[in-house]
Symmetry: C2
């Protein structure tokens, strides 16, 4: 990875499909919509216009100031909505065996995700530049998060089996 200071919507789509998909999914139309808005508010500007109207953008000084402010002076919304956990909290509404199947499936999904992230990690050509350093940290978080979920799912399924047995329904 290089620390490119210019990027087209197409370049950004690549980034969102690899490292960023794990933490902030965005599709093509969202990316182009945001680029247009950022351009209109002069936080980025068109650096180059190529064939078939393909635009390459670069950040402006105002954009850098705003990015810095957001990074260092705003509080991340620490708690986040997790629709898997919300389902878990409500699993009392279904049978024990259905709840166990739900957890088993979540475990499988997370184990697969972990394998996919490990492959991605192995395929990346990480350098010492900041974009590589922070991309690698983000990917490592994704791996740890998936591993934690997989382990928790296996543990949770066993807990449910124990409760099922205690209820005389095992």
């Amino acid at each position: 990875m290089t620390s490119a200071s210019q990027a087209s919507g197409y370049d950004l789509l690549g980034t969102f499909r690899t490292t960023l998909s794990n933490v902030w999914p965005a599709n093509q139309s969202q990316i182009y919509t945001e680029l247009t808005k950022l351009d209109a508010t002069e936080l980025i500007r068109v650096a180059e216009e190529g064939a078939r109207g393909r635009k390459t953008y670069e950040i402006t000084d105002a954009g850098r100031t705003e990015l810095r402010h957001w990074l260092l002076e705003t509080t991340p919304n620490g708690y986040r909505r997790n629709d898997v956990l919300l389902r878990v909290f409500l699993l009392g509404a279904v049978e024990w065996h259905e709840a166990r199947a739900f957890l088993r499936q979540r475990g499988e999904v997370m184990t697969e995700r972990l394998a996919g992230l490990r492959e991605l990690d192995a395929a990346m050509d990480w350098g010492d530049d900041p974009l590589s350093v922070y991309g690698r940290l983000t990917l490592e978080w994704g791996k740890r998060f998936a591993a934690t979920q997989a382990e928790w799912s296996a543990w949770a399924e066993k807990e449910i089996a124990g409760a099922q047995a205690a209820a005389g329904e095992g």
Copy 2:
């Protein structure tokens, strides 16, 4: 905890403030708005109306069917937006020492959250009923998630220190 089949908005607010705050934050006005909508679509109904118009709701058969469908037949949106990780990915826009301070602070926030969840866990009177079982699994996920984040933050800060030293700026 008991497996209550009826609840008022006030009861639900208590649940959202304790176990659910970790996975699906909701405030008082959101809770009352949703109860009104669910009542209008007959997924819940008013079971009792007490002093000062306080309403106790219960789920209807249609509501149970819908809940079951959502729990077992819809796919959780596995990937979720994480504004902390998005910041991490973009930390190349600030100085190494600022990035390290950011990670250090995230580690502290997560260590505090973990301590808070452990206290909550110790204070809960968990039983063998489904609501207790699944509430406990949800809380355990919150604890593991916070621990994973705290460990990752400490690891990430060291990685940044290494990159900083490699760049001759340590």
